[in-house]
C-alpha cells in the first residue's frame, strides 16, 4: 500500500516538466489569442470569416489522414515480417528501419527533389527504358508531398506496430489453426484484433506529427499544397501577428482533439491504446 503510493511521486519530475514547458506556454498562447491587449474575438472571427484559413485547415487534416493511412498500409506488413524473425535478423532489420531517422528531414526532402525532378533519377531511368516519351511531372505536386512525408514518418508507424506484434503470443495462432482456422481466418480473427492497439498508437502518432509538417510540403508541393503550419509560420516570423498565429494554433489543436474524440467514439481508441501495456 505504502509503496504503491510512493510510485505516484515518480511521476512528479515529468509532470513538473510538462507543466512548465507545455501547460504554461499553452495557457499563454490561449491568452495571446484572446487579448490584444484587451479581450477580443477578432482573431477567431477572421479565421471563420475568411475562407482561406478553414480551407487550409481542412487540407491539413486530409493530408495528415492520408499520410497516416499510407504509413499504416506500408508499415503493417513490414512490422509483421519484423516480429516473425529470429532476434538476430530482427535487430538488423530494425536498424534499417531506424537509419533514416538519423538523417535530417531537410536532407531527406532534398533527396526526394533529386529523385523526382524532371531530369531526376526516376524520370531518367524511365526515359532510358523508353517507358515514357517525355519527363513526367512528379515534383511540386501533392503526391510528392505525401510521398516525402510518408518516408519520413514511416518509422513512427512501424515501431509501435512492431512492439505490439512482438507481444502477441504465437501459441494463440497455433491454437486457432489446430481448431481448424485457415491462415486467413487466423490472421483476421486472432492476429489482427490483437495488433489493433499498435495500429491505433501508430496511426495517432503519425497523424499528429503530420499536422505540424512544414518544410517538406513547402519544398515538394505545388501551389495548392499549403498546410496550416506554413500559415502560422508566416504570421509568427514575417507578419509578427502573434495573436492571430495563436488563434490558428488553438483552432488546429481543437480540431485535432475533436477528430481524436470521434475516432475514440467509433474505434474505442482509449481502450486500444491502454491495451498496449498489457500486451
Amino acid at each position: 500500500m505504502a509503496t504503491k503510493d510512493l510510485h505516484i511521486y515518480l511521476l512528479l519530475p515529468s509532470l513538473g516538466l510538462l507543466i512548465i514547458f507545455f501547460v504554461v506556454p499553452m495557457l499563454r498562447i490561449f491568452g495571446l489569442s484572446f487579448f490584444d491587449p484587451v479581450f477580443t474575438l477578432k482573431h477567431y472571427l477572421r479565421i471563420f470569416q475568411i475562407e482561406v484559413y478553414l480551407q487550409v485547415l481542412f487540407r491539413t487534416l486530409i493530408v495528415a489522414l492520408i499520410v497516416a493511412g499510407v504509413c499504416l498500409i506500408l508499415g503493417y506488413p513490414v512490422s509483421y515480417l519484423l516480429a516473425a524473425q529470429p532476434p538476430k535478423v530482427c535487430n538488423i532489420l530494425l536498424i534499417l528501419v531506424l537509419i533514416p531517422l538519423w538523417t535530417s528531414v531537410l536532407v531527406r526532402t532534398y533527396s526526394w527533389m533529386v529523385l523526382l525532378g524532371r531530369e531526376g533519377l526516376l524520370n531518367q531511368i524511365l526515359l532510358y527504358l523508353n517507358l515514357i516519351s517525355k519527363p513526367m511531372t512528379l515534383l511540386y505536386t501533392s503526391k510528392a508531398v505525401i510521398l516525402g512525408m510518408v518516408q519520413i514518418l514511416l518509422p513512427f508507424m512501424i515501431l509501435p506496430l512492431f512492439s505490439t506484434m512482438k507481444g502477441i503470443d504465437r501459441n494463440l495462432l497455433k491454437a486457432a489453426q489446430s481448431l481448424g482456422a485457415g491462415p486467413m481466418q487466423t490472421f483476421l480473427r486472432v492476429f489482427l484484433p490483437l495488433s489493433l492497439p499498435g495500429v491505433a498508437a501508430g496511426f495517432i502518432l503519425v497523424f499528429i506529427l503530420s499536422l505540424g509538417f512544414f518544410i517538406t510540403p513547402a519544398l515538394l508541393g505545388g501551389r495548392k499544397d499549403i498546410l496550416i503550419s506554413m500559415l502560422i509560420e508566416t504570421q509568427v516570423r514575417e507578419l509578427l501577428n502573434w495573436g492571430f498565429a495563436a488563434a490558428l494554433s488553438l483552432i488546429l489543436l481543437l480540431s485535432t482533439i475533436v477528430i481524436l474524440a470521434i475516432f475514440n467514439r467509433f474505434v474505442g481508441l482509449d481502450r486500444l491504446v491502454s491495451g498496449i501495456k498489457f500486451s
Binding site: I50, V52, R118, T137, L139, L219, G222, R223, N241
Partner: protein, 352 residues
Amino acid sequence: MERYSLMKKKFWLLFLLGTVFFVFSSINSMAAEDKIIVFNSSGGALDAAQRKVFSDPFEKETGIKVIHTAPVNFAKLKAMVESGNVEWDITELPPRDMVRAVRLGYLEPLDYTIINKADLIPEAALPYAIGGGFYSTILAYNTKKFSKGKHPQSWADFWNVNKFPGRRSLRNSPADNLEIALLADGVPKDKIYPIDVDRAFRSLDKIKPHIAVWWSVGAQPAQLLTDNEVDLTTSWNGRITDIQRKGAPVEIEWNEAILSLSYYGVVKGAKHKTNAMKYLAFRQRPDRQAEWVKALPYPGASISLYKYLTPELAKIMPTYPENLKKAIKVNNEWWLENADRVQEKWNAWMLK
C-alpha cells in the same frame, strides 16, 4: 580589550577596502565596455566570408572580439528588447523589419561621428539603421534556351508565353511579385506605388497557368535552373552569380530589377554600443566592401567602392550605376502597411 579593538579596526579596514574595490570595479565596467560585440546575421555559408572579410581584420585592428550569432529573427529581437535581456549588439534587418524596428523603438540611434556618412549612399545611411547589402530580384534565364539578345528583357516579356515559350518559376510570396505583375501589365516604373493590388492580381492571373514551380526558399531558383526544371525565373541576383561561376548556362537580365536593401541596426539597450558603431563603420570601408563583393555581389552603402572593383565585377552589382538606373526600389513603408492584407489575398489566390 585592546586586542579586540584592533580586530575591529582590521575588520573595518577590510570592509572599506572591499567597498572601494567593488565601487571602483563597477565604475570601471560602466566606463569601458568589454572588448567584445555580439553580431547577429543570417549566418550559413556566408558566415565564414563575413568573418574573413570583416570580423577578423576588425579584431586585429581594434582588439575587439566579434562573436557571430544566427539566424536573423525579428520575434527574438522583440522578445530581447521587451524583456530587457539584450544579447545582440548588432542585428541584420531585412528591409521591412528595419522600418518596423525603428517604429517600435527597438534600435539605438547610430553615431555618425564614428561612421563616415560622406561615403555612403544617402538612403542607406539612416538615423537608426545602416545599409548592409543591396540585392535585387532579377529575371534569370537559361542561355541554352534563350540566346543573349533574344532573351526576355522585361517582365512583359516574362508574361509573353507565346514569344518566349518555356517553363517558368515565380516566388511563392506577394513580395516583389506585385510590382513585377504591374510592370508586366504596363504600369510605368514611377507609378508602381501605391500598388493597385487588384490590378496586380489580375495581371498575375494571366501568368498563373504557366508557372511550373512556385519557389519558397532562396536557394531554389538557382537549383531549378541548373536542374532544367525551369527555363526562366525570378531570383535574388547573388544566387545566379554563384551558379554562373560554377559554370551553369544562366544569365541575369538587369532591366526592371526590384531593388531591396537589408540593414544593420544596433539593438536598443545593447551592452557594447560604442564597439558596435566602430564595427559598423569598419564594415563600410571601401577596401573591406571590395573584398566582400568578391565573395557575394550584395554591396554595402559605400560610394567609393567602385574605384576598387574591376569592370567585370562592377557590372554584376545591383548598385552598379547602369543597373541602378534600370531598377525599381521597393517601398518598404507600403509593404509594412499592407503585408498582412496582401498575404491573405495571396494565400487565397494560390488555392484557387
